[in-house]
């Protein structure tokens, strides 16, 4: 016979405080608020109703203000497609972009822009880089080959074209790389805008690499 031994603690056999049937019956009545089972309903339902309404309101306002236009590609909560200008871009830092692009150029011109004496001209302190915008843009667009003097040294090599017919870089990219090169390693050139690159590219189209003489004819 396994009733609770007097030596045992009551926690070894929990006693039910109510039958299941009465739990059902009493709570069914409470849930429907029948008049003979009222329990403290005076203020609470109104307060709760108010609370629920406020929360719904707050949540709705939050979603509306931070929906980013419900655009699946938007990650800025304040993005509003109605205000977005077609084709507008996030602000790009030309120096940062140019630095990334420079990895290609460093193959020849070296990471510090010093070049390889006798083989590849330096970019640091180069009069071609720091000088006329017209010339340096042309060099990058169409390339440069044949003998050339840079910072007192002579070079005779072939720089590939990065514009049409060559690597096909966009005007933006060319403007970033040129801005970077013109303002790094002590160079004090001006920044190059994409519009300027476009203007010159439209002018010259696709052509064979420049020679030193042809470039010197350009102002």
């Amino acid at each position: 016979m396994s009733a609770l031994d007097p030596k045992d603690s009551p926690s070894q056999l929990e006693r039910a405080g109510a039958s299941d049937e009465s739990i059902h019956r009493v709570h069914a009545a409470l849930a429907t608020n029948s008049p003979d089972m009222q329990e403290g309903r005076s203020k609470l339902p109104l307060v709760l109703l108010g609370f629920v309404s406020v929360m719904i309101f707050v949540a709705a306002i939050y979603v509306v203000r931070n929906r980013g236009g419900f655009d699946p590609l938007a990650q800025d909560a304040r993005f509003d497609p109605r205000l977005a200008v077609a084709g507008q871009k996030a602000a790009v830092d030309p120096m940062a972009e140019g630095k990334k692009l420079f990895a290609t150029c460093s193959a020849c011109h070296q990471g510090n822009g010093q070049g390889v004496p006798g083989t590849f001209p330096p970019l640091a302190g180069s009069e071609w880089v720091n000088g006329s915008e017209e010339r340096v843009i042309r060099i990058v667009l169409s390339g440069l080959s044949g003998p050339v003097t840079v910072a007192g040294g002579s070079y005779n090599n072939a720089m590939p074209a990065f514009g049409p017919g060559g690597y096909g870089w966009s005007d933006d990219k060319i403007s970033y790389i040129l801005t970077y090169v013109r303002q790094s390693w002590g160079n004090k050139g001006t920044a190059i805008t994409p519009e300027k690159v476009t203007e010159i590219r439209t002018q010259i189209g696709q052509r064979k690499p420049w020679s030193e003489a042809e470039l010197q004819a350009v102002p």
Binding site: S2, E14, S19, H27, D76
Partner: protein, 491 residues
Amino acid sequence: MGSVPRTVVPPQPEAVTEASRREDFGPVDASLRAPVVLLLGWAAIWLIVGLGLALISAWKMHTPSFLGGIECLTLGRVDMAANNVLLYGWGFNAALGLGFWLLGRLSGSAVRPFGLGLVAILFWNLAVAGGLVGILIGDATAIPFLEMPSYVLPVLLVSFSVIGAWLVATLRDRAFKDIFISQWYVIGGIFWFAWLLSVALLMLVFFPVRGTVQAIISAWYSHGLLWLWFGAVALAAIYYFIPKITGRPLRHFYLATLGFWSYGVFNGWLGVQHLVGGPVPVWVQSVGIAASLLSLVAVVSIGLTVLSSLLRSFGSSLSSPTLRFITFASVSFVVSALQLVFTSFGRGAALTHLTYAEQSQTYLTFFGFFTMAAFGAIYYLVPRLAQKPWSSAGLINVHFVASALGVVLVFASLLLAGLKQGAELQQADLTFSTIVEGTLPYLAARAGGVILFLIGQIAFAVNLGLTLTPTLAGDRAALVLPEPPELEAAR
């Protein structure tokens, strides 16, 4: 299920009242014995195994050289294994056992014997064992909270559906005409989890969707697993055992319906608040935050009822083991739900996102809320299944104190580690290794908490073994218990 004769008198008003007034409630408890004892036995085994793995993982976090060179015990695999064993081994067996008890008792009629259901329980546990081995040998899926290999996951879904159908059938076979809120929480949970798991299997495991839609589905699944399944079963237990033990009706019970629906709706929309700042559409992040704000409605409705009822009967809350655990679980529910809200936006989010603090919240939900509620229920129902009292009162006390302190220690240490981590990550000049060094003492404290919790569970497992063994050996004298009184109708 064939034509199994029902073992209860057809519902007539006098017969129902008569049968229900008898505490020993022979036919119902007898019908529950097979599934519940099987489930609780497995649950206890997996609890110890899972906590052992969790301890290894917690130890490695601050002492990486511990068991360092063994591939199948590397930190990542042990951590994934611990989570899966605790969730699908301990958690599901305990929740289903609890579900059987609640639905069986509240339906008032014996649960149909269902051999296929018992086989399904066995298959569920074989799948968990297979999953454990699979993760440790390197077949993990890397889906959070669903890392078991794809070859065991379908077994889980099929087994769960069979067991779930068995449980839902109690509604049809019921003797009481009313349906109590606890029954809806369990049945809702069964339906919700079956849907969650099906979607996860289809859209994540077998036909993975493209890109970060996976992250969204995974977040939906993890949150649903914890709150729409484990949380729902825990609330079912809390809503039932408070009036059952205290003998007084729940206060503000008219809020129960609002609580149930708001809980269900808003927890479905949660999970994605963890993805704020991540590579998912910003509207999804905002909706997650809005859902967390709205979940306050559920917290308030449920918390108000539960906490005020417990406070009113504070005396019995302290002396009854079931109510001690239920009280702890109820407080953990409120704390965890509020923590969820306050860490989903603004400064709270900035300090806690992607830190240990998020783990503390998951931990509190599963261990502080669900597991403690399950323990409370188990302390009530095991004597009625075993037809004898618990073997040792001392072990019950050890279990409660060690579990409660363990949960608090783990939760607090993870939360503090996370807040420190979050604050320091916001300072770009602090190197990452400095931040890591700062968390190590807290991680050591966390490991201490896991040890404490494990000690409690060993006490529990021993007590359970001692109590159930005579039952399993076939020695079952009838337990004599007096009639339970009527629930107080007035306040």
